[in-house]
């Protein structure tokens, strides 16, 4: 049985890499990939702790909810990215500086 700490360290590494992607990449799609990496790291934490919850299955249930919410977030975010690209002809977050034309 793998100890809890090892799961936590792997998910800490994934979370830090996702944070780096969000902060440094110049492409909205890669920023979205960074957010997905962070969500995956937190789901890994949820299932690792959920192993100790046999009566309620709270960890696994909320891991499934988190996957569903991430899918919904990706659908909306990609629709927004495509609209922004149509308007600005760029997906660099630094070029996007108007709320309304």
């Amino acid at each position: 049985m793998i100890p809890l700490t090892h799961f936590l360290i792997v998910s800490a590494c994934l979370f830090a890499i996702g944070l780096y992607a969000v902060l440094s990449r110049r492409n909205a799609i890669m920023v979205l990939v960074g957010i997905e990496l962070m969500i995956n790291a937190s789901i890994l934490n949820l299932v690792a702790f959920g192993r100790y919850d046999k009566t309620l299955y709270g960890g696994q249930v909320f891991a499934l909810f988190a996957i569903v919410l991430a899918a919904a977030a990706v659908a909306v975010a990609l629709a927004i990215i495509l609209n922004v690209y149509k308007f600005y002809k760029s997906v660099n977050p630094e070029d996007i500086n108007h709320l309304k034309d």
Partner: protein, 182 residues
């Protein structure tokens, strides 16, 4: 070291290594395909936490849905990539990258410190579960138990999340439809 631990560390190394490679690659198409590898190996890690249904859902939802959506969005906004390639400027060690490496590394330090502290001194409910023997074992039927919990204890969050998913999909379809030409 048992074979189980060996496979776990292989999956963990593949996940962390390809995630590192994916954030440093400049080619977005290759980075998205590396994201496949990361998602598959993280799904493998879920199996080691005895969450087989979550792992299957991860493969179905992420690899089947999210990643294909991302590839579509990348291909529909492809000119940015060509622009980057023509510009030829490598932003390695520019100040924002340096700052974000610093921030990510400090967060990693804090998280690993917290994980090691937690390993030394496990929380009470984990110890209680270990004492009472209510830790998941590989022989348990996870899917049946999850279905029972979804339909009894967690039925309200389940319904709320289904309504929210429908709202998000309608919103996405509305945002991405073509404007009616007058």
């Amino acid at each position: 070291m048992t074979i189980t631990a060996l496979v776990f560390y292989v999956f963990a190394t593949v996940a962390v290594g390809s995630a590192l490679l994916l954030v440093t690659l400049r080619n977005i198409a290759r980075a998205l395909f590396l994201f496949f590898v990361v998602l598959f190996s993280v799904a493998g890690l879920y199996v080691f936490a005895l969450a087989d249904f979550v792992a299957i859902t991860q493969i179905l939802v992420y690899v089947g849905g999210v990643l294909v959506l991302m590839l579509f969005a990348f291909m529909l906004s492809n000119k940015e990539l060509l622009h980057d390639l023509q510009l030829g400027t490598s932003q390695l060690f520019a100040l924002p990258v340096w700052q974000s490496v610093l921030l990510a590394a400090s967060l990693l330090t804090v998280l690993i410190y917290a994980a090691l502290q937690l390993g030394n001194q496990e929380p009470g409910w984990v110890l209680a579960a270990r004492d009472e023997g209510t830790v998941l074992s590989p022989a348990d039927s996870n899917v049946q138990q999850l279905g029972l919990q979804f339909m009894t204890r967690y039925v309200l969050p389940f319904e709320v999340v289904s309504v929210l998913l429908m709202m998000a999909l309608i919103g996405a379809a509305h945002l991405s439809r073509k404007e009616a030409t007058p």
